[in-house]
Point group: C2
Chain length 407, copies 2
């Protein structure tokens, strides 16, 4: 049986970052940069005032205090957005607003709270040493500086930085289109009522949401009955997708047609992966389209999507973070039995006094959809004998940023 790492390596070898396209920064949230974003500009672009106050020559403020104010002549006003026409001469001060360019001749700003103004006289109640309240060009970003490296997903802060330095539009990889097909005679779609013996299909709603969260665009193919011709027809609709995800039909049962179809098409890999949940996973090329066959059990489908499908999507997006962050946590609450396959245990994370603790979401059988709910991490329990006890350290894959409801 393959390890998860071996199976994933084989999957990932079939994926490359997709074509590069330009998108407006207004549409760039969650997209992944295809090239290093480098600033051609300094930020700030020019010396400007950090405060509302008076621009002056530092030497003119020497010795100023509330008891012995220095007096300067008010020579004009430097507002934000305009360059002051003129020069601050010895003995002069110019009214300046936050963000306004520092007028020529001035080398300091005294904030207005430390001044008094009467007519065209400005009284300085304190010294303003050279550089006081001035933001220098390039303090935030120097020209040529790397703003955001290729492979980083653009969040609000990255978008702000690119906008502030004029890196617009952004060069990103195209979003993958991921086709999703559930298979099985027993399944009824959203909004229909199951007949006796049938069940409500929940894997494709799950996968469509998870694919969206991963940064791709889901394409819903619905449900295929357990008949080879129906499966083939549905999958033919999906040939233009960047990835096909199926659920069900990859075990060893008599109706497990996905693996048969993949075998027909030549380039097939059908694996039993040494993991729990989710042992059977199929992967292969359906013509030119990669197909990842996930198990039908909801929890197995979710965990195998996490371990194989999401990394494929992140690779197509050109992300540096193909895998979920793995961090060390301390187990709390119930022991976890080890076994002969690596076990991915759904868990809640919390922090107690700086220590990251994890607690399982309860019973972990692979048909218990409720075990996924609210989970913020997958604990990785390696093969072995006995149990992992409370207090022991474990690696955890971070699934998202929410803490459990109870926290």
């Amino acid at each position: 049986m393959l390890t998860v790492e071996e199976a994933r390596e084989r999957v990932l070898s079939h994926f490359q970052p997709l074509a590069i396209e330009d998108v407006s920064l207004n549409e760039a949230l969650g997209r992944v940069l295809a090239e290093d974003a480098v600033s051609r500009e300094a930020l700030p672009a020019f010396a400007n005032s950090a405060m509302d106050g008076y621009a002056l020559r530092a030497e003119d403020s020497a010795g100023a205090s509330a008891e012995a104010p220095r007096r300067l002549r008010l020579a004009g006003e430097a507002a934000a957005g305009r360059v002051y026409q003129g020069r601050v001469e010895p003995g002069e001060a110019v009214r300046i607003l936050t963000g306004a360019p520092l007028p020529e001749g001035a080398d300091a700003v005294l904030q207005q709270e430390l001044t008094e103004v009467a007519g065209d006289e400005v009284r300085l109640l304190a010294e303003a040493p050279a550089g006081n309240n001035i933001r220098w060009p390039g303090e935030d970003v120097r020209p040529g500086a790397l703003l955001v490296p290729a492979g980083i997903e653009l969040g609000p802060a990255e978008i702000a930085l690119l906008a502030a330095t004029g890196v617009h539009p952004a060069r990103v990889h195209r979003r993958p289109r991921v086709a999703i097909l559930a298979t099985g005679d027993e399944l009824v779609p959203l909004g229909e009522t199951p007949a006796p013996g049938q069940i409500r299909e929940s894997n494709s709603p799950y996968l469509a949401a998870a694919v969206t969260r991963a940064g791709a665009v889901p394409v819903r193919l619905g449900i295929a009955r357990d008949r080879a011709d129906e499966l083939r027809a549905k999958l033919d609709e999906a040939r233009s997708a960047d990835l096909i995800l199926t659920s069900g039909g990859v075990s060893v049962g008599d109706y497990d047609l996905v693996k048969e179809l993949l075998s027909e098409q030549g380039d097939i890999a059908f694996w039993r992966v040494r993991m729990r949940p989710g042992k059977p996973v199929a992967f292969g090329m359906l013509g030119a389209t990669p197909l990842l066959g996930l198990p039908g059990n909801p929890v197995s489908a979710a965990v195998t999507f996490e371990l194989f499908g999401r990394p494929a999507i992140r690779q197509m997006l050109g992300s540096r973070q193909i895998l979920r962050p793995s961090i060390e946590v301390v187990l709390e609450g119930e022991d976890i039995p080890r076994g002969d396959r690596r076990h991915y245990v759904r868990a809640w994370l919390d922090s107690h006094g700086g220590t990251l603790v994890a607690r399982t979401t309860g019973a972990q059988e692979s048909h218990l959809i409720s075990s996924l709910q609210g989970a913020t991490a997958l604990l990785v329990v390696e093969v072995g004998e006995g149990v992992v006890r409370a207090g022991e350290h474990l690696p955890a894959l971070l699934l998202n940023d929410a803490l459990p409801w109870g926290a």
Copy 2:
């Protein structure tokens, strides 16, 4: 000066969860449930097989082993999606596939790996005690069980659980529409080139992205010059929004028109909040529309949005998680000076051997957009003297799930 908590309480008192609407589970990702989702069904709905194998009466397998197999008559097949027509009688076995309803009369399933079949004879190589490989009705969800409480944001797992139990469409609160306006003569919009003294506007791209991440719909109003008539005209466009966010114009400068406009309109609250960055924050009602006036400095705008704007949006969404999760972390790297206002310090989180550590993103002045980049937490440094040193514990607000690029 108000504390952050006092100012936030005043803001939140103006917001209620918005109207309830039904959305398809296909469109429900990220929406917040308006009512408890309660299951009317059991999950599984019927007893079914956890394995491919043979359904039988447990008593018929008593004593079976590889050396002394018990022999049963193969009486038919129970496939997934169909109810077996008939009953398993003493001495009989029925072929059964994973997920198929357990036929009447049977009370156990022996997996096929522990059987041998020849013609219509099934040889049992092991015992199958009562209940073996059977999933009982309601094991995952009992009828009447609370699936997902009101106020929870729907992720893939919650969507799967609602789909599996037929809670479709989902009842959620309407998404808030949030108008975003930048103010200032010095600003040029995305795609234009600043003249000398002008700067590229980055607050509205930031806020639009952050508003989207918070679960609301941004409405971009562009930039208003520092003229009362222009500001009034732009804001009139936004009267139908659920919230107006402005940036700039709320300080004490001569051109800080947002606060003047709010004062005109009657119900105004203009505060200096005891925090860094972001001291000046304005809040008031523009007619019936709440307006939150954020400072113009990019970092101040970002942090005040986090502390006041995002909670207002989460309250309109009906979320139980109005605030970011706060967890305890241990400071690493550079000391952080305390001061006379609470300081929100941008930081990266990591886990070292189960301990959550935080490291600042570098220089923290409020015009340094680069200090926001990649930040995964805001450290909360309370008022005081001296510094917070490496090794000390601090509360941190979790901003998202990404680890720093370097991790």
